[in-house]
């Protein structure tokens, strides 16, 4: 069944959409889209390390991104630079270092375009296992930390005062972000993974009046984007990542009409 590359890509995409939906909601609610970008950029460094040491790519990306997240926390405490400057610094320097390192690795042929924008041809049966097992783990952990994470997203002090330990939830969430990037990079590409996290969620925001609904719509949006994106990628021979994100954008644009309607109804 998984012999066909397209079926593999589709199964991988479905797995990813189930995870990016709920995580994406927190990325939007907590204003972390640039943070997600930084982690994704650092993934290139993870890929180079994986090739150099002949190591599992997903694990390597996961470790590199987690380290970058730790460095960010340290820098925020030690310097007087604003958060967005630090994010930019880490994002572009890790991308640059990653690209320089690739330049040195002349003995390996890299598909840079595939890394940056995703490649459906590259999804193997092993990748499917990584995505579905990794994705299930991410969702399980997210379910466990949902209450403190959500409460502190609404208001940190309320969560802290009423004994929910929001700092721990935040730290675990950061690890989950690194994990979703690690498992979805092959499919969506490192430049566009944040798009997969936030665009279906942005669409969902336009359609929902409560958090549960937003999570569900966000998953549905992600699934639709994967279906439409992959079919058009196959049809028009376009790279998979941009096709999926462009499909998500189209859905977002449609969702704007719904807002317009509700505003008109209110008037």
């Amino acid at each position: 069944m998984f012999d066909d590359f397209f079926i593999r890509a589709l199964v991988a995409g479905i797995g990813i959409a189930f995870v990016t939906g709920p995580l994406g909601c927190f990325v939007v609610w907590r204003r972390l889209s640039y943070f997600g970008d930084t982690l994704a950029h650092s993934a290139l460094l993870g890929v180079t390390i994986a090739y150099t040491l002949e190591f599992n790519i997903a694990v390597s990306i996961f470790i590199t991104s987690s380290i970058i997240a730790l460095i960010l926390v340290k820098l925020e405490k030690k310097t007087n630079l604003p958060g967005d400057a630090l994010l930019g610094l880490l994002a572009h320097s890790s991308l640059a270092v990653g690209l320089v390192a690739i330049g040195f690795l002349t003995f390996i042929r890299f598909d840079i375009m595939g890394l940056l924008f995703g490649d459906i041809l590259a999804v193997t049966t092993d990748d499917l296992l990584t995505i579905w097992i990794g994705g299930a783990l991410i969702l399980l952990v997210l379910k466990l930390i949902w209450k403190p994470l959500f409460a502190s997203t609404v208001n940190y002090e309320l969560a802290e005062a009423e004994g929910l330990n929001p700092d721990r939830a935040k730290a675990i969430f950061t690890i989950l972000m690194a994990a979703i990037i690690a498992i979805s990079i092959k499919m969506v590409g490192l430049l566009l993974i944040t798009g997969m996290l936030i665009i279906p969620t942005a669409m969902a925001r336009n359609l929902s009046d409560n958090p549960q609904k937003m999570v569900i719509f966000s998953i549905i949006g992600g699934l639709l984007s994967v279906f439409i994106g992959l079919f058009s990628s196959l049809e028009f021979n376009t790279p998979s990542g941009p096709s999926i994100v462009a499909a998500a954008l189209v859905l977002f644009i449609f969702s704007l009409f719904k807002i317009k309607q509700t505003i008109q109804l209110k008037n």
Partner: protein
């Protein structure tokens, strides 16, 4: 829980500094079950800071905080909620605890905002939101309630009703309350113990004792002192220093 004397939270010589400036220093107080302790003081005197120290929101503090309960309801002074998050009143009510629907309805009915249950939090007025905040804090029947100016923005008649409600709740569920308020009139009638802050504890005791205190007069003026005395005449009992009721 400390069964012996029903203490819920105890602050011992606590202090907190931010940017090398002490916000409060040397504050000792305790909240007991069924008692209302009120913090008063001018702006910037460290009332909210003291409450946050008691709640464990501030971590690098001087002194000791002993908490004997984890069932706490908190109404913060300022709360900013990001409207990228779609949140109805009933979602907000369930934020830190799992509640049955009737517990939720009961709390919303008590603060008079049950009709807003399905409304989006972003569409509430300041006073309505304040009532929801209070409902959320009491809905889980906490052992300790920390209320930082809980009636700000509420209309005048509502204000009195809510203070009465707070008093009633403390009796009904027998919880301890740490209350911060600017409104000397209404608060004093319902308080067991007053702590007057101005970066440190400038005086504390029963409302009557505090009203007579010279430091209190210096801080709030003679007028405020008289206000308190006037209100005390409505009492049919007196409080001793530790908040116990003394029969006349």
């Amino acid at each position: 829980m400390n069964i012996e004397n029903n203490i819920l939270v105890k602050l011992n010589e606590v202090g907190f500094q931010q940017n090398k400036k002490w916000l409060v220093k040397g504050v000792s107080l305790q909240v007991e079950r069924g008692k209302i302790v009120t913090l008063i003081g001018p702006n910037g005197s460290g009332k909210s800071t003291t409450a946050k120290i008691a709640l464990g929101i501030y971590k690098n503090i001087e002194g000791q905080v002993e908490k004997f309960t984890n069932n706490i309801g908190y109404v913060p002074q300022k709360i900013s909620i990001d409207w990228t998050l779609p949140l109805r009143v009933k979602d907000f009510m369930l934020l830190t605890d799992v509640l049955k629907d009737d517990a939720l309805d009961e709390a919303l009915t008590l603060t008079g905002v049950k009709h807003l249950k399905d409304k989006n939090l972003g569409n509430l007025s300041g006073g309505e939101f304040q009532r929801v905040l209070l409902a959320r804090a009491i809905s889980k029947k906490p052992e300790l309630l920390v209320l930082d100016e809980p009636v700000q923005g509420v209309d005048f008649t509502g204000e009195i009703a809510l203070y009465e409600l707070i008093k009633k709740i403390s009796e009904k569920i027998n919880c301890g309350i740490l209350l911060i308020s600017h409104d000397l009139h209404t608060v004093m009638t319902a308080t067991d113990h007053v702590v007057c802050l101005n970066g440190h504890v400038c005086c504390s005791g029963s409302p009557k004792d505090v009203a007579r205190n010279n430091e209190y007069k210096a801080l709030f003026g003679e007028q405020a002192s008289q206000t308190l005395s006037v209100y005390e005449h409505k009492h049919d009992h007196e409080h001793s220093n530790d908040g116990e009721i003394k029969k006349n």
